[in-house]
Each structure stands twice: as structure tokens, then as C-alpha cells.
Symmetry: C2
Subunit: 377 residues, 2 copies
């Protein structure tokens, strides 16, 4: 068995209860998340000592109380699905509790594995040794492989570092996965012959576990080095398995369907996606179309993705969600140079001249990063 | 390609906006959920006609407006992950929208497959031809295989129809999956020799896709006929794949982690879990520890699970979540005889005499169902 009996997963919950009711509410949570029995029905000493979490702190905050629970790591079985269930399974059905912070002990972090490539691996794959990376999606859903491949070639010529599928692209009859990946890779190969630079393409894998496995094999056979996936659609355990299995591909995690739970973005997209192996995480930056991602949330999320953690590579934050060229400086000031800037729709306004606009975007990011570099140090 | 161009997935969203802003908000949603581009940037006639959903209705309701969007079925690629993404992927990150109803066209329902066993298959597996079934969990997390097997034997002798793992049971070092399933199956085999009746045991499968696959094979080798899983932890696509693949096992879907999204329980646990193959769905009935499941929600959820749908078997509602013997009549009046009553913790209060209490619970359910039968007709 991995992990010692003295290791704990610590979880902080915000309880929407008055201070005087907090101790009892936290006590109920201890039982709900593990034994699911009334207190009187739990008489086993092993269960009392090694299963039930301890309440380590009750801190009054605005609108309620934050309770810190320390779960013996053995409760998680060192498994991503079980971890999520222990942290927020049953209490996801209770409106007065939100999960706001998680810290994992080393044995669990090691078992989950974290990013296989991480920020440094993505820099290796793209050849961008320092400074921000640039990224844009192939879209919209409805275009066929040839049209998307033309777009990819255009963005590659413009100097974009990472080209990804839009998260609406699946294995559609009008744009099958294999045909799309083949067409885009061929187009990027032609550009690479002309420019000497091979752009990283991350097609989206999506579907049931066996479908995703087939897509990964197809992608690998076509010399793809990275894929995008939405862990909230596919399941967090699927992310964790892909990050450890074959083929070895960098994983860009997209936030689709992940916004809804009363688990804060910094916990789900930050701590847990990184722990389960996301090399980069795509999320909406504050001020776009997604109000729940405010500045403080984005700050904490970036911190969770990039802070040093024993045995876990740093993941790359990819702010997006309605970003535009006008906000490049703001984003680079906020996230620093270890980030990937994702711009989609705003590049696509204005009809013709898309390649010129993409090129200007890349130049703007480079120039702004250079200008800010002394400040950042 | 499955499905005709004239088939639509219809989704009803509750928008927390004033009536005068509803048309514009619904318009933004059309683009957000499919092409993710500004309107001006979408110029392709195929995309306009075959990808973008139509707004079919805008109905004022208390606190906002309900918008009905009709998505061309082709957008879903007839895949469960893509369906979920189209329905609620990006807009899960927007606090002013909730998904409150979904209807699937026949081609998509057929592609997803629905329950393989359904209510009738569970009756066949349990030998309960009519009237409500009874169910209780093996718990708490922390007990070893032998202790859980003793509990299983006790519940089997008491006449319980379905014994399931508590949703906290995983492949723990102190209670490994294989040892637990083997011990419980042997205990139930001994009871069957004495009573002539083999109780259905549903161990929980959980973990990454390959772990779950191994657990299913282990379970099948030990003559298990049903398993429990939490689709919100494992991913909805995993449920759909298990419902169609080998081995053929009945699937009890548990609601762990499913309560949080702003997708109503009747959509997620009702429409989508059934469409993706859950034979039975376990959820908290109104009045237990889970406030968001009110009476009206439970009514709609049961309706989604049991209403006739072309090509989809009925699934069995399994109300639980803090139910007790005192509420048996209320539950049977509410759900009718085509249901499975799940009672856990309340049986476990009072120390010794557990078998007698379980037996009394079974008798109470049978007797109450008989008494109510004329009313139900």
C-alpha cells in the first residue's frame, strides 16, 4: 500500500451556515463524505481512526464558515474517481457547501502523477524556449477537413505556436476525426517545409473511453504530439489515465462543462486537473463572457497550475474565452511570460486579411513580452 | 451517417434575464454552444443551416425566460460526450443559464442505446415480478471483505432484493475489490443454498477506464450480474460504453458528484443517464438530507426515467438519501410499485437486531405495496 497512515488530503469547504451551527454542520460533512452512516451506527475503531476525517479548523468568513477537513489518504484508494467522490461526491447534492481548496499529500500526488510534459515539455514541443506562447482554434464546427486545414496553414504561416481544434469539433460525419487530423497535419507539414518550423497541432479527442483510445492511436500514427480534451465531459479519471498511458501525448485540458459544480475553478481546473496530468489548462480569463471567473479566481487558478509542488511538473495556464488583441498586455502583466495566449473569435472579425491579423497578433504578443520582460524580473 | 437532417435535439434553458433581453441572450447561446464565433464571422451556408440551432420558443417564467433551442442532431456526432458539450459545455461557465429539459430524436436515442436491462431486466435478475424492490448498501467504508460479506448474508436472509456497495467503497487496501466481491458472492451463495433465492449483488466499479474494465471482468468471473457506478465521477461516456459493451451487466447509476451542475436532476439523472444506459438510478428523495431534490423535481425525474420512449427501456427509480421505514408508504404512493426502495443508515440504528429490522423493512414494503395496489390501479 502506498502512503502512510499519517498522510492526509486536506479539503477546505465553505459552509453557508451561521457560526454557531458550523461545528454541527462540519460534523455531518465528516460522516456524509465517508461512512454515510449516523454517528451512533459507527462503532468500529478502525473506521473511527483511519476513515473518518478530522475537522482541523473552523474559520468564520463572510456569509458562513470555512471548515478544513483532513481525510486519511487511504480513503481515496489513491484513485482519481474515488478522490473526487470523497472530496465532493454526496455533498455536491447539498446546496450549503462548496469546495474551495484542496491539498494532496505526496503519496497521492505521486500516484496520480501530474503533468507528463507540463509547461517545460510544451516549450520543448513548440520550440518556444521563453516568453508567452500563442494559440488559436480551428473553427467553426461545420467546416470540412480541407477548410480547417487551410485555416491551420494560414495560422502556421502567421507564426502561431499551437493550433488546436475548437472544443465543438468531434468525429462528425461532415468532418471525421481521422480525415481532419490527416489534412491538418499535411498542411502543417507543407508549411514546415517552407518555413522550417513545425507548428504543434492539438486535435480534440472526445467520446467514450474506447473511442478516445482509437483517436489517440490515430493521432499518434499521424505524428500528432498533443491533444485537447474536456475532462469534465470525459471524466477526470480518463484524464489521469491518458496522462500515464500510451501513446505519450501532451494534454491540453479544456474547461467545457467544468464551470457548473460548486467546486471552485482553482480546485477543479487548478489542483485536480494538474494532479491528474493536464499539461496545460484552457479557461476563460476575467472580463470575457464568463462572469464567474473573476480576477481573484484567475489569480488563484494560475497559482494552482504553476506553484512548485513536490513531484508535479508545472502546468501552463491558457487564458481565453473572448480575449482580444487589445488585452494582450493586460494578460501578460497578469500571468507573466509562462503562459499561452488563446485568441479565437476576435481574430475572425473583419473578413479578409485573417493571416495578416494573426501575424500581427503574434508580433504583438512577442513585442509586449519583450517590453514587459524587465518588469517581470 | 445516422439521422436525417430534419432531426433535432431540443433543449430548454432557463435564462435569468429580463424578458426584453431574452432574444439577444438566446441568440448568444446559439453561437456559444456550437460555432463559438461572433455572428459576423459565420458566413458559411452549411454552418448557418445545419449547425446553428434554431430558437423555437421564448417563454417568460418566474425570474426569467425559458428558451427552447433545436440543435440539428448532426452537431452531436451521435456521441455522448459531444452531446453533453453541445447541450451545456461552454454555457456551464455562465451563471445566468440552466438546462432544464432535453428531448432526443430517435436516431440519437438509438445510437446511445438506453438501458440494456431496464426495469424489466432488473425484475428478471431479482425474480421480483411485480411490486417494489428493496435495496440496502454494504457499509461503512473501512470494513474488510469478511465483515461486509456477513452483512450481505444477513440482508439476504432478511429478504432484501438488491444489495449494493456503498458509494464510498473502492479498491481500498483494507478492502480490495476482488476480495470483497468474492467474499460477498460466496456468502450470498451460501444463503441461496439455504433459502433457494439468490440475491442480486451490485458491487461498485470506480476508477480510470482500464481499472473499471478490469473490475467488470473480475465481477463477471465471480458471477456478478449487476454493478453500481457514479457517471458524474467516471464520465457520462463511460456509462454509455459500459451499457453497450461486454460483459453484459445491469448498471445502477449513483448520483455522487452529480448534484452540482446547473443542469436539473431530471435532465442529468433522468433523460441523460437513461439515454446512456442506466438500468436504475439512485437519487435522494425529497425531504432527506438533500434539499435541492424537492417533490416536483423528484416527480419529473421519475417521469424521465419511466415514461415510454421509442426504443428506450424504462429505467427503475431508486429513491434513497436518508429514507427510513416511516416513509415507505409515502414513497410507494409517490413512485408507485415500479420502484426500488433504498434504505441504509436508518436500518443501522439500534445496535443488535439488524437482521430483524431488515426483515421488518422488507415485510413493510411488501405489505404496504399490497395495501396500496387497488389505489395504484
Amino acid at each position: 500500500m502506498v502512503g502512510s497512515a499519517s498522510e492526509f488530503v486536506r479539503a477546505r469547504y465553505r459552509l453557508a451556515v451561521p457560526v454557531e451551527a458550523a461545528a454541527e454542520r462540519a460534523e455531518a460533512l465528516r460522516y456524509e463524505q465517508t461512512v454515510e452512516l449516523p454517528r451512533e451506527a459507527v462503532q468500529d475503531p478502525f473506521v473511527e481512526k483511519e476513515i473518518l476525517p478530522r475537522v482541523e479548523a473552523l474559520d468564520p468568513v463572510e456569509g458562513g464558515v470555512e471548515a478544513t477537513l483532513a481525510y486519511p489518504v487511504a480513503t481515496t484508494a489513491h484513485d482519481p474517481a474515488q478522490l473526487l467522490g470523497v472530496l465532493f461526491g454526496n455533498c455536491s447534492l447539498q446546496d450549503d457547501v462548496a469546495l474551495v481548496a484542496v491539498s494532496l499529500p505526496d503519496s497521492l500526488a505521486a500516484a496520480l502523477g501530474g503533468p507528463r510534459f507540463g509547461a517545460s515539455g510544451l516549450r520543448r514541443l513548440t520550440g518556444v524556449a521563453a516568453g508567452p506562447l500563442t494559440c488559436t482554434p480551428l473553427k467553426p464546427m461545420g467546416l470540412g477537413p480541407e477548410r480547417l486545414a487551410e485555416l491551420a496553414a494560414l495560422f502556421a504561416r502567421a507564426g502561431i505556436d499551437v493550433i488546436k481544434d475548437d472544443n465543438g469539433l468531434a468525429d462528425h460525419a461532415f468532418c471525421p476525426f481521422e480525415a481532419r487530423v490527416r489534412a491538418v497535419q499535411e498542411a502543417l507539414g507543407s508549411v514546415a517545409q517552407a518555413t522550417g518550423r513545425r507548428v504543434l497541432y492539438a486535435p480534440q479527442v472526445t467520446g467514450t473511453p474506447s473511442t478516445v483510445r482509437r483517436q489517440l492511436e490515430t493521432a499518434r500514427a499521424l505524428d500528432v504530439r498533443a491533444v485537447m480534451l474536456s475532462p469534465a465531459l470525459l471524466g477526470l479519471p480518463t484524464l489521469q489515465e491518458l496522462a500515464r498511458g500510451e501513446p505519450e501525448l501532451a494534454l491540453l485540458a479544456h474547461c467545457s462543462f467544468a464551470g457548473a459544480p460548486r467546486v471552485t475553478p482553482e480546485v477543479l481546473l487548478g489542483s485536480l486537473y494538474r494532479a491528474c496530468g493536464a499539461d496545460a489548462v484552457i479557461f476563460p480569463h476575467a472580463g470575457g463572457r464568463f462572469a464567474r471567473f473573476d480576477v481573484a479566481t484567475c489569480r488563484r487558478l494560475a497559482e494552482e497550475l504553476t506553484a512548485p509542488r513536490p513531484g508535479r511538473r508545472r502546468a501552463l495556464p491558457v487564458p481565453g474565452g473572448g480575449m482580444s488583441e487589445e488585452r494582450v498586455e493586460e494578460l501578460l502583466r497578469f500571468y507573466g511570460p509562462d503562459t499561452m495566449l488563446l485568441v479565437g473569435g476576435s481574430l475572425r472579425l473583419g473578413g479578409a486579411g485573417l493571416e495578416a491579423r494573426a501575424r500581427a497578433f503574434v508580433a504583438l504578443v512577442r513585442e509586449t513580452a519583450r517590453r514587459l520582460a524587465p518588469e517581470a524580473r
